[in-house]
Symmetry: C2
Subunit: 503 residues, 2 copies
Amino acid sequence: VDPTTGRAGSTVFHETSTAEVAHTVGSVSDSWHALREISYLDRARALDAIADAVEGERDGLIGAARAETGFSEAKLSGELTRAVMQFRFFADVIREGSFLELAIDHARENATGPMPDLRRRLVPLGVIAVFGASNFPFAFSVLGGDTASALAAGNSVVVKAHSSHPETSDRSFAILKESLAGSLDAVPVGQVLGLQAGLDLVADPRIRAVGFTGSLEGGRALMDAIGRRPDPIPFYGELSSINPVLVTPRAAAEMPLELGKSFAESMTLAAGQMCTKPGVLFVPEGAAGDTVVGAAVAHLESLESQVLLNSTVYESFLEAEDRARTVDRLARLGRRSPVSTGAGFCVNARVYEGSIQSLVGEDLVELFGPSSMVVRYDPDHFVDDASRLLAMMPGSLSISLHLGSNELDGFAELREVIESRCGRIVYNGFPTGVAVAWSQTHGGPWPSTNSVHTSVGAASMRRFLRPVTYQDAPAECLPWELRDEFEGLPRRVDGCLQGGIGG
Amino acid sequence: VDPTTGRAGSTVFHETSTAEVAHTVGSVSDSWHALREISYLDRARALDAIADAVEGERDGLIGAARAETGFSEAKLSGELTRAVMQFRFFADVIREGSFLELAIDHARENATGPMPDLRRRLVPLGVIAVFGASNFPFAFSVLGGDTASALAAGNSVVVKAHSSHPETSDRSFAILKESLAGSLDAVPVGQVLGLQAGLDLVADPRIRAVGFTGSLEGGRALMDAIGRRPDPIPFYGELSSINPVLVTPRAAAEMPLELGKSFAESMTLAAGQMCTKPGVLFVPEGAAGDTVVGAAVAHLESLESQVLLNSTVYESFLEAEDRARTVDRLARLGRRSPVSTGAGFCVNARVYEGSIQSLVGEDLVELFGPSSMVVRYDPDHFVDDASRLLAMMPGSLSISLHLGSNELDGFAELREVIESRCGRIVYNGFPTGVAVAWSQTHGGPWPSTNSVHTSVGAASMRRFLRPVTYQDAPAECLPWELRDEFEGLPRRVDGCLQGGIGG
């Protein structure tokens, strides 16, 4: 379906049947050995080769995604670059080697008696099911972070492609498959399509874990399906996030125009369809806050209408608008242009405003599309009102805090509240944009995620690994990286962290 | 109930009501700040103080546990020493600092554009529910590894005491509480008792994760309860394990008497009520295997009868015996003394034997008590038959492999199968005994655990931590351990691992 017109294309995509899902998982499971039996360095090279292959098909991939998502070339080009870099980054993480969490304790005596020789490393889980997201056809889809981190950790992968961009997914998968066929003796990746195929996938006994980026509703359905397995498996879901942006009275007074415009830009990035979209702007009552809000509304009204990804997002957006208009606590800001333009899934941005004194929890929910909420507070009670706001809201991936100049020390108590409600604290910035890095966290308290792990950055590999310890193994029986004489990777030996590239 | 007589004591223990559970969780949640606001070093000191306090009450604790569990003084004394050492070990792990997974990425440019300054650390989750196990009244109960690792990670804890040893639990909890009251401004621990109290506990909205060591059935009930929460929380369950011991033909030929006796000792440790009990001994058909089995049976018949923990374990043991006698595939070894002695929950050890050719999966299940299964294989097909055995069985905490002299290289393929089915591989030894160490893994594929984490050793703290990243934070707003000038703990800076005590 072309979202700019709402009309279906001529290509018909076949939903994977239950039997086909089983066949795909079986084939991917059988091919896993090809990834396990190569060296870590060869695994890193295989990821670099994928990056090269994807880069080589840039134009075709972007063209397909433009037609299916309505996203701009700039957004898609940046996202593709990000996906390419992500494979290279994980190749570097493999070469660095800390992800193995190597540890050796030599045999010794302690107060409880003799301790055996113990040597530990992390090993991959097996076949991972990865669910592509609608809103990132590259960076969180077939070629996205879950696929890259699962492969980097040494697992095989079956992707459930998102039905919003089947052509982009097919092209992506073909590149992935062909590239891996050039690096490995068998191809440990597969792809399925369709809602039932996704449920069949997580129920398959050979699937060892699930990476999911999508809606809270979809995530719960998969969690329930996993709960019905005889052997429940880990589910890593990134589900729903509001990402409030808190602005202190001094910050609002010092840079109101810049704050308002930047907020409007952030909330309309990718037509407001990012899991890190700022869904709440928390600004003071009074003149400074009015200027922030005025600048935001002025920028929104200067924008052209934006294309939503699919009919589901579009219908939800219109329904939310109908609901919001009936709620007395909420005031619609700006010239009140209709949200629907009548063409395809195109909409105009909208912002509602309410007061922290009158809003209730149900006013503060995630909504995909160029929509956000301004919440006003009493400038004399910033910390108390901000804490109240965060207590009313579910957990988020991120919370942002804008401080005024020299306003550095007064918020230790608030920082503790913020830290308890999210996984990333952004200072003097906006939450859209999640760098792929060692120190990144993309995850937070429910419902932003359901786990204690990040889904972006080096540590996201940990989701798809488990520890195995060798006790009193003769040296010849040990994996080489756990032998005494080996010193090429970071290890903990008898409690002391040793070496590696940067040590 | 005194298991040696089966008679109830005079003290009546009160099951915690739903309202009392809520009150306890509320109080523990409110007291959490006392643990968060002290330094890491003070947290380590608080754990050392608990160790000292427990050591100081050794005699009273062991006396209470003897009366409630029927365990020998030697077993209980060793276990108490282990629990004491465990608190000291986690204090050392805190001081070392790697558990925080500190990482700093300074702002820079890359191909996707400017990258912000990112700084990451792990933070505690909140109130953790810990379920004490029946079979380790100290090391996996109120004073056990889950409590110690959750506290070490900075969390508050509510323990659900096991109904098999309420007096031991009450004494343990009093020591824990009093010791923490000496170290902290408020006491972030609580205790509840009773089946319904356990269900109420995991349903409480303030509980952030659950550590459980117990039965598969009990674990599933808690997982289901967690699945019904509006916000499902992490559940870390250690549920069921058979721990097969594989003996090669050459090992059997070289040391049959020693192997048989050691196996019998291991399977009857703590009256066979250890999660690491060897539930299957895999020995060759023929004379060497016969000698192994003969030595095992001779040792078992030299033992006095053993006391099981409670009526549930006792009844299950008798039922399993009744069932086994009707199965043609199984032959009972030894003089066929009755399993029940008629006194209290006392039983005699039992061993059944079957052939890998005829056994089916349902013959291979965990059973608490001094019981195990000998499985015979064709000595010409050790690797194939061992792989077949492991494929028939669920995942285990451990798998042991006994090799003959110079028999080091021939089992790479089998090692891969073994690694896929457990979390600890024991060479030339038996699985009972799990050292508390940096390199330990106590966990494995379902149903041994449901997670990708260990529940014993340094890394067990990771279960009760989650990452938080600071983006572009002014230095004054950062936790001190994430500031540039700080260098006291191991950190990853711009991708390079740095320093710490052992670096």
